[in-house]
């Protein structure tokens, strides 16, 4: 069953917090991964790899550059489910 945007956000925040040490409460819609959360490209790729597994979705490499904010990622993952 597909998860809601709220559920995806919670799951994504958990991954980001675990991998980078950023407070999960900071991982919200309009925050930019690079500018606001200070996440480098290697960490971003790690987050993407773990998110693909957690949400059972495929995020193509060429799509990752479009995931600028947390909201972008949540929307993409939610839409990509099943």
């Amino acid at each position: 069953m597909a998860l809601s945007e709220k559920e995806v956000l919670a799951g994504l925040a958990e991954i980001v917090a675990e991998e980078t040490g950023v407070d999960a409460a900071e991982v919200v819609g309009d925050k930019s991964f690079t500018d606001d959360l200070d996440i480098d490209s290697l960490s971003m790729m790690t987050i993407v790899t773990l998110a693909e597994e957690k949400f059972d979705v495929r995020i193509p490499d060429e799509e990752v550059k479009n995931l600028v904010t947390v909201g972008d990622a949540v929307a993409y993952i939610t839409g990509a489910q099943s």
């Binding site: 675990e18 980078t20 790729m45 790690t46 790899t49």
Partner: protein, 411 residues
């Protein structure tokens, strides 16, 4: 000539999570070797079911993101580095004059094999992007360099079980060559993995005393039957004496000389007469302007193997002659097992502490010394070292015929 001072010490070992707890346990003659509680021991039919694992697990000290970004070998190096750096008073030093030299004998074996499991079970898309930066042998050196902001160079001289000592020798040279004022140097190992245990077991290098883990590492005892796997890290802060004195640093001891040789004999066995080992010790003394008669204490490489222990004992006898009867020899792997790439650094710290406290730590589990042993082995309880100027040597030898001796003197 520039003198190289030691101003900071840090370690995490099977005996304790830092220098004070490890040193106290070592003087007490405790063992850090235990039966492994991992399910893989039985699952894969390992013939050896024990090891010396770190007394304080890295997850008790580091954050979750730190744990995930570093192989266990780098995690332990960072824990030891933080202790050593704080212990040195967090020196203020121009980053361009600050170096790092940290190595491991085996490297990121957990990271590599976990990634291999992921690849086989879940496919290439699930292999994590940090796999290579975590498994590369220079990873601990690189993380230490990042931790302290070292820009004078970061090195990882790899020489199996001599790695940690050789890294300290590298740091020493960086200071003598004028490349750095301060160098954070040492070794680390976290290879208590079923593949490593099975592989050392296949060489018949490991003790199989499964019914008595704490008694298994028994260097120089007639019933010794192999080494015991250990893990952990030792890190020291080296400084030019001038720099250390200018900032008012406490000086524990000096690294007065280093000796490096190679056997060109066999990929795993030491040369039977110990010529390369004796020459490494001699070079360490000569480079520091010291004489064999100055040597008060040696922390032996002595891993508890049938062949290796006596080769080193003969090398020591050949170097010191009758003075070997008055040199306190300690084989501290009896208490914590063999930390492989971490051994040379951890044991160097034990030499430095021995010089500072004038106490040679004990060798435990020696119930019947090898009858051919012609050295003064410190057994069961610590022995007092002479006052005045003394030299303590740490020996570290590695598969491949790498021999490294470090000669320390009092402050």
């Amino acid at each position: 000539m520039t003198k190289v001072a030691i101003t900071g010490l840090g370690m995490t070992t099977p005996l304790g999570g830092d220098v004070p707890s490890t040193w106290e346990a070592a003087l007490d003659g405790r063992s850090g070797v235990r039966t492994l509680d991992n399910d893989w021991v039985e699952k894969y039919g390992l013939e050896v079911s024990f090891a010396g694992q770190v007394a304080v697990r890295p997850e008790e000290v580091l954050t979750r993101p730190e744990m995930k970004r570093m192989d266990p070998s780098a995690q332990m190096a960072i824990i030891a580095t933080r202790e050593a750096w704080a212990n040195a008073g967090s020196p203020e030093v121009d980053p361009d004059r600050l170096g790092a030299a940290v190595s491991s004998g085996i490297g990121g074996v957990w990271t590599l094999l976990n990634a291999w499991d992921t690849l086989k079970e879940k496919g290439a898309a699930r292999v994590l992007p940090l796999t290579v930066p975590m498994l590369m042998p220079n990873s601990p050196a690189a993380y230490v360099e990042l931790e302290i902001g070292a820009r004078a160079g970061a090195h990882a001289p790899v020489s199996a079980c001599a790695s940690g000592a050789e890294a300290i020798a590298t740091g020493y040279r960086m200071i003598l060559e004028g490349r750095a004022d301060v160098v954070v140097a040492g070794g680390t190992e976290a290879a208590t993995h079923p593949v490593t245990l099975a592989s050392f077991g296949a060489m018949q290098a490991l003790s199989r005393r499964n019914d008595d883990p704490a008694g298994a590492s028994r260097p120089y005892d007639v019933t010794r039957d192999g080494f015991v796997m250990g893990e952990g890290s030792g890190i020291i802060v080296l400084e030019s004496e001038e720099f250390a004195k200018a900032r008012g640093a406490r000086i524990y001891a000096y690294l007065a000389g280093v000796g490096l040789t190679s056997d060109a004999y066999h990929i795993a066995a030491p040369e039977p007469n110990g010529r390369g080992q004796a020459r490494a010790m001699r070079l360490a003394l000569e480079s520091g302007g010291l004489s064999p008669q100055n040597v008060a204490h040696i922390n032996a490489h002595a891993t508890s193997t049938v062949v290796g222990d006596m080769i080193e004992a003969r090398a020591i006898r050949s170097l010191l002659g009758a003075h070997a009867d008055r040199t306190l020899l300690s084989a501290t792997k009896s208490m914590m097992g063999h930390l492989l790439g971490g051994a040379g650094a951890v044991e160097s710290i034990l030499v430095i502490k021995a010089i500072q406290d004038r106490k040679a730590p004990p060798t435990i589990n020696v119930t019947q010394p090898d009858p051919e042993l012609e050295v003064d082995l410190v057994c069961d309880i610590p022995r007092a070292m002479p006052q005045g100027d003394v030299v303590g040597i740490n020996n570290s030898f590695g598969f491949g015929g790498h021999n490294c001796a470090l000669a320390f003197t009092n402050a």
